[in-house]
Subunit: 255 residues, 2 copies
């Protein structure tokens, strides 16, 4: 039986892989690659092929969910699946783990940086004070979900900071920040909630760890330019004075 | 003015560093190293010195908090501070960032794997359903804090999974699992709370990503052997059936 390595790529490209991950990939018979559960830098796939001097197999969502390609490849030796961000935090891959184990293969998870912890790290807010995270979904004419507000409401109730991931559209483009805020306000209007107003504080973190990373902090109404690229929104709850000091520092760094 | 790189080491040793981190460390004039905010593998410091062919400076807690050594070194060129886990998630380093910025130095954060996201990843529980995290503190004769229960209570209220970090003792030894559970039960008795009983489900993750990693899942009463080493406890709230399936899989893998 073979080893299946779930390898976290990290936040940006082949350079955010760990030394251990690279060592393992060099030894694997077959390397699969998925780039749809998270946003990564263009050319990562090609650059990784160059570094490893091997062909990689890019999987579509359907191919990955079907699992056949991976489970069959395991019959000929060790395989790796390279996953953007932290290796197993997207629940998409849990069933692959279970199915590989059922066939007596061994699983090893190679951890990497995750957007969740990186955003908390950069925000200067205390990791202990974050509540549940949620995703802001795109709205369509006949589908305008507001359930993410339940999470924000619950966090509010326990004075927890809220971290929101933003959805990708059908072409895998991340949601612009202004669009996310518009959807939040429309949703709370629809639900007759008053969780946020134009004076609410917000931290926007976009393209974390990229050369053109953007960190913006301030009140919602002061966000004049739009911010594009894969991003995370943080709505701080009541801040400790040290958190407040860091928030003000980020504010003065805003673009 | 110089660059100060806060470099996340990752969860275990020099091999959990990213390729980017290694590149940066090779170029830095001075490299500081702290190993007290998180538990890492013995000899990491020495191995990293060998890889880089450079002397590193290990900082005590007092030296790091004093900041002088680092701020002075920045006057002679780029510096890095290597931090176990994710680079800036321990709030200890926020004031260093602020003070270096005040002196016109540039800060760059090099992200890495964090125990928080790695534990969520391995648990198979949905990242969206975790509430606030807390630390279980050691109890001493005259100091028996129970405030961590407030977090567990709040998470309970919003049906969130709870992730608990375990304290280190005065010799930087991590708390054994049985001790952590004992303190939780004593604390809830003291506070007249009934959050957990012997039938409560628990996931224990110890030495994540080490060769002798332990993952244990089951009911508290079924935890017969003790588990030693840096660990994380997870108390699942109500589970989705896919989470339940994964929990049962972990259970069958328990040692």
């Amino acid at each position: 039986m073979a080893n299946l390595y779930l390898v976290g790529l990290g936040l940006r490209d082949e350079k955010t892989l760990s030394l251990e991950a690279l060592e393992i990939l060099k030894k694997c018979q077959t390397i699969f690659f998925e780039d749809y559960t998270n946003f990564i830098k263009k050319d990562t796939f090609l650059n990784l092929e160059k570094i490893l001097e091997k062909k990689l197999i890019r999987l579509s969502r359907a191919e990955l969910e079907n699992e056949k390609l991976i489970l069959n490849a395991l019959n000929s030796g060790d395989c790796a699946l390279v996953v953007p961000g932290e290796a197993l935090i997207a629940t998409t891959h849990h069933s692959l783990v279970l199915d590989a184990i059922k066939l007596n293969h061994k699983i090893k998870i190679i951890h990497s940086s995750s957007v969740v912890c990186a955003a908390i790290s950069l925000s200067g807010l205390h990791v202990y004070k974050f509540g549940k995270i949620c995703t802001i979904p795109f709205w369509h004419e006949n589908y305008q979900p507001t359930s993410f507000l339940d999470t924000l409401k619950e966090n509010n109730k326990i004075k927890a900071h809220s971290l929101c991931l933003l959805d990708l559209d059908e072409n895998a483009n991340p949601m612009p920040i202004k669009k996310a805020i518009e959807i939040i306000f429309l949703a709370q209007k629809k639900r007759k909630l008053k969780l946020f107003n134009q004076n609410s504080k917000i931290i926007v973190l976009s393209k974390i760890s990229w050369n053109d990373e953007v960190i913006w902090a301030g009140k919602i109404k002061d966000l004049k330019k739009d911010i594009f690229g894969p991003a995370v929104l943080i709505f701080p709850s009541k801040m400790h004075f040290l958190e407040e000091e860091y928030f003000n520092f980020l504010k003065s760094y805003s673009f």
